[in-house]
Amino acid sequence: MLKKVYDWLDDRAGLGSLLKHALDEPVHGGAKWAYVFGSGLAVIFTLQAVTGILLAMSYSPSAQQAWGSVYYIQYVVPFGWLVRGLHHYGASAFVIVAGLHMLQVFIWGAYKKPRELNWISGVLLLLVLLGFALTGYLLPWDQKGYWATQVATNIAGTSPGIGKQLQAVMVGGAEYGTLTLTRFYALHVFVLPAALIGLLVVHLALFRRHGVTWSWKLSRDEAQRLTAPFWPDQLAKDLVFCAGIVAVLTLLSIRTHGAPLDAPANPSESYLARPEWYFLGLFQLLKYFEGPLEVVGTIIIPTIAIGFLFAVPFLDRSETRAPGKRTIYMAIVASGVVAILALIGLAVRDDSRNPQVKKAQEQAEVIAARAKALAAKGIPPEGAGALFARDPETRARKLFGERCAGCHELAEVSTLKEPKAPNLTGFGSRERTRRFLGDPDSPEFFGPTKVRGMKAVVDAPTVNAALTFLMCQAAEGEAGNTGAAGCEPDKVKEAQKVVESKCGDCHELDKTGSLVGPNLGGYASRRWIRELIANPGARHLFGKKNEMPAFGDKLRPEELDLLTDLIFKQRAHGGGSATPGPADKHP
């Protein structure tokens, strides 16, 4: 039956001779591992096409929807993470294998007459590949892609003469937005694939016309004698290599569960942009050329490099293909490869040595995780950018940044060179309270303020009683919290007696009062925090010693609630000091 179908197809379409033509290509000089890279690229191309089409089924190229759709692919669609991971790592594999393929061709001298056009079409394919990488990076519309691609289009903007116009055409206007995304998307899924396929047809046709370039060590006769058929001798080697690539890509995708997704692009929030690793060399180059010389790094050096690649078949016209006799060209290419790798290495090293970069990356991860947690509940129709605008915690942090961060430090929100008020990281937690009791005038607490002067609490029984009492005050007004573990009424009462006798000269515990220290009844409860923010100079709080502005009439009630909640939740922070200082000496 199968045979009949095959015969019918063979008769009508010449299937047999087509297959024979494809597979029986003579490999002069014999099958070699050195020739596997071309097939590797073919398989990666297929992989990128298949996964790309699948991704396009769930992707939505608009500034409002793109991030959400990629989130959906990554975390909701079955196998979405794997398809996306393969596409992501496939892009890197494309660049690496293309580099290896070019190196092999170069070392073999396979660009020489009559194969100049093979080489030139190959260089064009490389440029198309880099175009794919550049346009694809933006599509998730996350912080990383958004800011890194800005750098790329700004580079285009430095082109002499036509920079401004070139940039506007790439960006689709003056500013980044949906039109940038639709433009990049159209390039990524229509223009570049068409260019790639067109060039690939030419590249392969030329390859079949001229055949494989055998080793420079073989004479024509030897190469003829050693000829092996493509199928199965070469193809088996090719397939081993291809299977290896696919296996590595699959393993990488599984290991990282797909590809990374940063927080949604936010034009108002600066971000430490780094390009994908294969552009890091170019990125590093920019550090060495500043001001009017910038164009050297952005345009001139890359143009010379690409120009050299196009020109090399016409520069190196000697008969011989032996690398030892083409030392100048070998040296140029070798130093080029070393330079690119070294620049990438330097870029990575610079970043790993820069604590600010590390901090920015950690912060970006926190924000990204928050964005994903919010997105799981559904993304508002106005887009992923609105996720945070609606999020109370984010709004509270922002509010803190605007209103409190001038004086107070808070982990992940504010760090100051010279804090003017206590660090609020971990406020209300046992750890921080313990540190506070041991050294209330440390720079972490009241050191920089007029409230300074509280006696440190050092003897263990008092510290323990104070901690027990204070820790249980925050339960005030919290449903189901009274009498929680460690806060049994008897225990609290007992601790309260100790606190009254040891601290009672300055602190009252009845929620009103006028002694010099703040009233400790309901300490660090929502009510207490809210009152403190609203009117810290109240008689039952800091009284005359207070320097903090009263926010009761500066903030709306809802904003007061947000800030109160932010500070109240600090107890869960664990109380680690944001700025390790003298306070840490106290156990």
Binding site: V50, L239, A375
Partner: protein
């Protein structure tokens, strides 16, 4: 030299077998995730946010309706407003459609879909003749039972399950196939 026995048919056979297996492996590694992704609509809903299995409908609270305030045998149209999940987007307070509520003698409330079972137009209430009427193809339904009085509708109006809970009315909002005499959820 390097190609000793290269022409040995046994060796070529092994290479062919190896090539076949590798091709299968590569194809599977690329194809299976892709197939799973492409055919994912056939798998059960991963998140219940889309309202669970299709056809099951979703329970929606009818806001602003006071069951005690309904007049007996006087149909009232009520909008069904709820959050709608479309892929990654969550739209809040979207009007999904509307229903007819009819209070009976004795206090029981009946609920009908406003979608005409014939071809899906919106069924109106004909105040003058005290009956439901579809303006598109003149299907007419009885107010007391929802049964077809005249016109092309193949079945009575579609009743929806109503529930009293927490001082509110909740409707199990479903859609049904049109044009069939059997009532089939979609």
């Amino acid at each position: 030299m390097h190609d000793k026995g290269a022409n040995d048919p046994g060796r070529r056979g092994v290479l062919k077998l190896l090539s076949g297996l590798l091709t299968l492996g590569i194809g599977a590694a690329m194809g299976l995730p892709g197939l799973g992704y492409f055919l994912s609509p056939l798998m059960g809903e991963k998140d219940a946010s889309k309202g669970g299995k299709s056809g099951a409908g979703a329970k929606v609270r009818l806001g602003g309706v006071d069951a005690a305030g309904l007049k007996v045998d006087q149909p009232q149209r009520v909008d069904v407003v709820t959050d709608r999940r479309d892929a990654w987007t969550l739209e809040e307070n979207v009007k999904l459609g509307s229903v007819w509520l009819v209070k009976r003698q004795g206090g029981k409330v009946d609920c009908y879909s406003t979608v005409c079972p014939h071809l899906g137009c919106a069924v109106d209430y004909d105040e003058k003749n005290k009956r439901f009427a579809c303006p598109c193809h003149d299907s007419v339904f009885a107010v007391d039972t929802g049964k077809v009085v005249s016109g092309p509708s193949p079945r009575p109006m579609d009743p929806l399950v109503l529930e009293h809970k927490d001082n509110s009315l909740w409707v199990l909002f479903q859609k049904f196939r049109q044009g069939t005499s059997n009532r089939e959820p979609v």
